[in-house]
């Protein structure tokens, strides 16, 4: 039986890039959320 092709580098690249996108956008959204939670009346 022919073994499966050796293309694991593509798989790793796809998972790594997706992880980076999720973390970068997630972090940006998280910071905007944290800014929205700050009390306007609190001293700056």
């Amino acid at each position: 039986m022919t073994p499966p092709p050796d293309n694991g580098a593509y798989m790793i690249a796809a998972y790594a890039i997706t992880g980076v996108i999720l973390l970068v956008y997630g972090w940006s959204l998280w910071r905007r959320g944290a800014a929205a939670m700050k009390d306007d009346s609190a001293p700056h």
Partner: protein, 233 residues
């Protein structure tokens, strides 16, 4: 509860859902990479399927809801519907970027090309461009009423592409494969692969809900602060 408190509760809820969703996606990735068998003909690259398909599903959910909510906005003229459409469109755009990046990385080892101009790929790229235009429009129009009305029309037009994108593999000769799950005869995947896909679909759907709730809450806080500012000015 004041508008500002309600909005902040949404932000908090969105943050909690996002943490759960990101954890679930990480666990699904571990399951896909380590505990799901390698497909015999495509090799490990086939495992990109467990990212690509759930990202596409949640992106279409996001843009579909933009279309529905935008229609409701034009009918009911409720600012909250416009803010929800804005949030859902932003999430959908990020998820479509994931689809458009993981697709070529999967295509290269299997098709021998990063990109082919077939109907499925091209129409998905157009959908992405429409929503880049949607965000640009929102940034360019300063009057809130005009911004909401113009972007609602564009949101509806963008969402109308989604059924067409789904049908492209039936209407045209495409390089893109036919569905292996959403088909009238039932899924063709082996059980263990199907379970990994379904778990990943659930995790990405939760991510969509978390990000959109968080982004919607941020929009509501912005509006509530503007209302308070106007009231005290």
């Amino acid at each position: 509860m004041s508008n500002l408190e309600q909005a902040r509760a949404l932000v908090k809820r969105g943050q909690v859902m996002t943490v759960i969703a990101v954890t679930a996606i990480a666990l699904c990735a571990v399951r896909a990479l380590l505990f799901t068998p390698v497909e015999r003909f495509q090799g490990p690259a086939q495992k990109i399927f467990y990212l690509h398909v759930p990202a596409a599903w949640s992106a279409f959910l996001a843009f579909g809801l933009v279309g529905i909510v935008s229609g409701l906005y034009l009918w009911l003229d409720d600012r909250r519907l416009d803010l929800f459409a804005e949030a859902s469109a932003e999430t959908g755009t990020i998820l479509t970027a994931i689809v458009l990046i993981t697709g070529p990385i999967w295509g290269k080892p299997i098709w021998g090309a990063w990109w082919v101009w077939d109907a499925r790929l091209t129409s998905t790229l157009f959908l992405f461009f429409i929503f880049i235009g949607y965000h640009s429009l929102r940034a360019a129009v300063h009057d809130p009423q005009d911004r909401a009305r113009f972007s609602a029309v564009l949101g509806i037009l963008g969402a109308m592409l989604i059924p067409f994108i789904h049908l492209t593999v039936y209407l045209f000769r495409t390089q893109h494969p036919m569905p292996v799950v959403a088909r009238p005869e039932g899924p063709t995947l082996p059980g263990v692969m199907l379970l990994t896909l379904l778990l990943s679909l659930g995790a990405f759907t939760l991510l969509y809900l978390g990000w959109t709730t968080l982004r919607y809450g941020i929009g509501r806080v912005r509006e509530a602060r503007e209302e308070l500012h106007d009231a005290t000015a």
